[in-house]
């Protein structure tokens, strides 16, 4: 498919220049250190979507003409790629959503409403993204259920003692991020899942920051639900994935009603379609799903292990480089136990000002609460600045960040 597969994957050498050549965005000269927010897209993804729009644009699952069958085939091909990518047992366990936010809401509004009742316990962690907190708060308010949050220690790692104490209260659901979007912490998701399942809980993992950096094998991990989002893994916006264990998905009521999710509709009732269509009402984001397929091809062409090794190298380099800035404080665990996400602040300079000044040097970083306000309160900061790395980033981009940070120090001195 791509030149990359031949040049990077088969040579066994990680050549970031070859990878960057596939990303037209880098022609802008901007240093992009915000991939935890949204990633750049390789031309293979853009071309796959363009091919759909220009060569076989049509709806799926409805028409009998060959163009539509081609669209359907390409759409379904992505589902097979996702199944393989996360090692689900069946394509019936792969549901397309808009993003991981919708994936989690789908579970809360269907499985949650059906299975969580008054007084039941839902266990989350204090470092979740808002999308893995708010849907559960809504559910808990509706049902009179309880929420409990596992705290972190000073290194930004989960307090496992608290986690195990909470499991003794037999929670209905345990939901946590595979990788923290702010601290980069790679949680011990395998151990957490095994312990929670042994305690009788259903386990949902938010893989938004995980699937592209550490990968997942949902059968090996044993989670009940796993969500990820296309635009953070080189794919387009508007498409995400929910993996669910088949037994659970089959027992769950539908989320949205409409076309495509039905077997037969009568005036007084409807027989629903089987999996996965039951959860995919209406015309989906066809081009985006096809683009996601190309993104997964690309990621697998490079290999998640190779990406992880590259990011680890960048993270170690960045930790050392940023350490030389006076008054700069980094949050989170040592590089080995974190994905390529580096949150920091600088004494006397607000993260917004840091980001504005480094932007003047053509470097993009995130500044703010990172959609994790409870974690900001826990860290006792209003906001952090955050640099994040992906397969296409270079040490030169980190050097440019450093120049911007020195400039911020100078301006605010």
């Amino acid at each position: 498919m791509s030149t990359l597969r031949s040049e990077v994957a088969t040579s066994g050498r990680y050549d970031v220049g070859v990878i960057r050549a596939d990303f037209p965005f880098f022609d802008t000269g901007v240093a992009y250190l915000d991939s935890a927010n949204t990633s750049q897209r390789p031309r293979q993804v853009v071309e796959a979507m363009e091919e759909y729009f220009t060569q076989y644009n049509s709806n799926i699952h409805r028409a009998v003409y060959r163009t539509s069958m081609q669209a359907t085939e390409r759409y379904d091909a992505t589902r097979r790629k996702v199944r393989e990518f996360i090692n689900a047992r069946s394509v019936k366990e792969v549901i397309f959503t808009r993003n991981v936010t919708e994936s989690i809401n789908l579970v809360a509004y269907t499985w949650g409403r059906q299975n969580v009742g008054e007084g039941d316990l839902i266990v989350l962690t204090v470092m979740e993204h808002h999308s893995n907190i708010v849907p559960w708060q809504i559910l808990a308010q509706e049902k009179g259920a309880r929420l409990a949050y596992v705290d972190i220690d000073d290194q930004g790692e989960l307090r496992l003692d608290q986690f195990h104490d909470l499991l003794e209260q037999r929670p209905k659901l345990v939901a946590f991020a595979q990788v923290s979007n702010t601290l980069g912490t790679i949680t011990p998701y395998r151990e957490l899942t095994a312990a929670a399942r042994a305690a009788g809980a259903v386990v949902l993992i938010d893989g938004a920051q995980g699937v592209q950096h550490v990968g997942v094998d949902v059968q090996e991990v044993g989670c009940d639900f796993y969500g990820f989002t296309g635009h953070k893994i080189l794919g387009p916006t508007g498409v995400g994935v929910l993996y669910g264990r088949r037994e659970l998905l089959e027992a769950m009521p539908p989320f949205l009603g409409g076309g495509d999710m039905i077997k037969a509709v009568f005036l007084d009732h409807t027989d629903y379609a089987g999996l996965p269509e039951k959860f995919e009402a209406g015309t989906p984001a066809i081009a985006e799903v096809i683009g996601l397929g190309a993104a997964i091809d690309y990621l697998q062409g490079v290999g998640v292990d190779a990406i992880r090794a590259h990011e680890l190298d960048l993270t170690e380099y960045a930790v050392e480089a940023l350490s030389e800035i006076d008054g700069l404080r980094m949050f989170g665990p040592p590089a080995l136990r974190r994905a390529g996400v580096l949150s920091f602040d600088i004494e006397g300079i607000h993260p917004h000002d840091i980001a504005t000044i480094v932007d003047r040097h053509n470097v993009c970083i995130r500044a703010g609460h990172n959609c994790a306000m409870p974690l900001m309160h826990r860290l006792d900061v209003a906001a952090t600045a955050r640099a994040s790395f992906f397969l296409y980033n270079t040490k030169e981009e980190i050097d440019r960040l450093l120049v911007g940070l020195h400039d911020a120090k100078r301006i605010f001195s």
Binding site: H350, H352, I357, G368, H369, M376, A382, I411, F412
Partner: protein, 131 residues
């Protein structure tokens, strides 16, 4: 970087590092805080009023140089002002006083203190965003 120097002008940095009228007022007649939902930044103001005149005002909060300098400048302007005149302070006035080019992403920072004034001191209902 000349651009940065222009953006972070000396008096903005001065108001950020040495905020005027910073702190809380005992026995304030009006106290109000507003948050920037995008970043969690906060500005709060306490007012002491007499016969429709702002006798004293202090602000507190945390945030970026733009939001805090804007609040500091605002308190200087408000002290001794009649409420009916304060009511006329516009978005353009605030931006003009800052005197720098504010990008769309930073407008909410610059206008946070105006929101405190409008919602708190005038008792206006929460309305939609200034921009």
């Amino acid at each position: 970087m000349a651009l940065d120097d222009q953006f972070y002008r000396e008096y903005i940095l001065d108001h950020y590092k040495n905020p005027r009228n910073f702190g809380r007022l005992e026995a304030a007649d009006i106290s109000h805080e507003e948050y920037n939902p995008l970043c969690g930044d906060m500005v709060g103001m306490d007012f002491r009023m007499l016969d429709g005149v702002i006798q004293d005002v202090r602000f507190h909060g945390r945030g970026c140089a733009i939001s805090q300098a804007s609040a500091s400048l605002m308190t200087e302007r408000l002290k001794g002002m009649r409420v009916e005149d304060a009511r006329k302070i516009s978005k353009e006035d605030v931006l003009g006083e800052l005197g720098i080019e504010i990008s769309p992403a930073r407008l909410k920072c610059a206008l946070l203190s105006l929101k405190v004034l409008k919602v708190g001191a005038y008792g206006l209902a929460h309305e939609e965003d200034e921009d």
